[in-house]
Symmetry: C2
Subunit: 339 residues, 2 copies
DNA sequence: CTGTTAGCGCGTTCAG
DNA sequence: CTGAACGCGCTAACAG
């Protein structure tokens, strides 16, 4: 039914070895190249990746495992990476672990079965199950956004502490003394780092650590941000400013302000990720923006270099930097301060 | 290096056939099952999908090709589908065509090479290149959101005409007579259908077709929505209401209103997709919402039934329905009308 | 229920 | 530069 080398041999009279060489970039006489191309076209020939992979033990395919597919931050990175990889001749298989460590392990298993040449992971948590099998098979692993505690994997991350500090500094510089952080639990690397950065920046600016109730840990979701902001607004001594530790918290906090904040004093707010927000929400919020394009590029480079070059050697960590995009003054100024 | 049946045979004394049966759900004596399980665990054995696929000509894997990965509408559908498929024992390979028909054809080629058992496509345009190869190989194709004009593929779509009509009806019912549509070019199925629905609904309500300058075709992007809305606002006789034909237009139009609309009369607006918007944007917009979860479920069902059952027969089209989630009255009421 | 045997389609030795 | 032969790891007949 579907064409194989044998069919091409039938049409060209060449041997299987020659045909194989043609399809693998070897030296083949011009006349024969033409013959093979013609036959391949006529037959609608397509190399059988299974047979090829079975022999060569390579797939020219990378596996990508995302903690969450439905996240612009993640998909932007993946989309950029896929493009780079395709240019380099690699396909990508994308899997969604939907925040479940179990689904993540399954996906890794699935991808190893597909003989991927490398693995890029935006992990669900600090530890990733199933990586042993990858290491045994010599499959390089790169983690993005969050490093992997177990196993030796390269990583591309941002300086999360400095990211949050830049937000805190804007607020303290505007006179805020009671700043809150909307973040997730410390079990997540980015949340942990951002909380550490937050506490350090607040202490550096005010001389004391933030009050406990100002750095609660909520579920990492829009609802979590909504609930957290709501609790903050209802405190006896509500903060005058709130920093949101990621995109979901930013959305949820904005919703809460929209729905509940009319009669309460509206706190200053700094959000995270997704620059589009700054154009959709009024007044324009200040945002900590991650260099998504560069994250994608560096991650792609890293896998490719591990696959095609130095497989060995210390795990490397690339640290990139965020920038603070300042929004309307009204969103971060201390009410009543001189303008 | 990596374990095979032979290693398991060495440890268990069983034959390759028995081992194969074990891994394929055949009947194997309990004692032998235990033996095999033990050996597999000790060896870190994992089935070689290449060898298996080479023989069986099946991969238990589906290919998914998205016109755009960085789109909540698309990723929500894919995420839901993947979950269903995994439950049914199928893996999914997700590819992003980034709006490029060429990348789409490449992705299809790539997936056929991976011997996918079925293909789910959110196509870039009306025609999809590369499907012939899928049909030749008997790989069922399901298109989502937009039907495929060439080849015979099943489809899951929504009633786009009724979707837009529901928006128009709300507006005409509120007294609007000059309604504009922000939509993309007619080369895109959804845009074409929504424009047709728009014109019909306006004519039905007002007795005449909308003015030509009120239904321009802009680039399908946030910028396109922004530019389109801007042009509408600057008309000599601007519309009193605007319907946005998709999520990008809704965002762009909102941005334009934010940035330019302060001194101009603010038109009523109805958006499309992504219910979160209704909680982030103030005043709360009215939205045409697509049944994403059901789209995902029906698409998954459809591929699976084609793979496991009736491969032949007429191409089927499933049509689902949108609902209108009404927002704040101020966003759709005619200014000056009695409340 | 288990074992033997024969390929699946391709890449890779070697000779020539 | 080309051709013949072998085997990658697994499944599917068939025989027992």
């Amino acid at each position: 039914m579907v064409a194989t080398y044998k069919d091409i041999r039938r049409l060209t009279g060449l041997s299987l070895a020659t045909i194989s060489k043609y399809f693998n970039g070897g030296n083949v006489l011009y006349a024969n190249r033409v013959l093979i191309e013609q036959a391949a076209r006529d037959l609608g020939y397509q190399v059988n990746d299974f047979a090829r992979g079975l022999r060569s033990r390579r797939s020219r395919t990378l596996g990508v495992v995302l903690a969450e597919l439905n996240s612009t931050f993640n998909t932007t990175i993946v989309s950029g990476m896929e493009e780079r990889l395709r240019e380099a001749g690699y396909g990508a298989i994308i899997c969604d672990s939907r925040g479940s460590a179990e689904a993540e392990a399954e996906a890794i298993h699935f991808l190893i079965g597909k003989m991927v040449d490398g693995l890029v992971i935006i992990p669900v948590g600090d530890e990733v199950a199933g990586l042993d099998a990858a290491h045994e098979r010599g499959i390089p692993v790169i983690s993005v956004d969050r490093p992997v505690a177990n196993g030796r994997a390269d990583a591309v991350v941002v300086d999360n502490r400095a990211a949050i500090a830049s937000a805190v500094d804007l607020l303290t510089g505007s006179g805020h003394g009671e700043i809150a952080l909307l973040a997730g639990p410390d079990t997540l690397f980015t949340m942990r780092e951002r909380r550490i950065g937050f506490r350090a920046a607040v202490e550096a600016a005010t001389g004391r650590l933030p009050r406990r109730e100002l750095t609660q840990a909520d579920a990492v979701s829009i609802e979590g941000g909504y609930d957290g902001m709501r609790r903050l607004l209802e405190l006896d001594h509500p903060p005058t400013a709130v920093v949101c530790a990621n995109y979901e918290f930013t959305l949820g906090a904005t919703m809460a302000l929209n729905e509940l904040g009319a009669d309460l004093p509206r706190p200053a707010i700094v959000g995270f990720d997704n620059l589009d927000l700054a154009r959709i929400i009024r007044p324009r919020p200040t945002l900590v923006v991650q260099p998504v394009a560069e994250i994608a590029a560096r991650a792609a480079e890293l896998v490719l270099s591990r696959i095609e070059g130095e497989r060995e050697g210390e795990a490397r960590t690339v640290v990139l930097h965020t920038r603070l995009v300042v929004g309307d003054r009204a969103t971060f100024a201390l009410p009543g301060a001189a303008s």
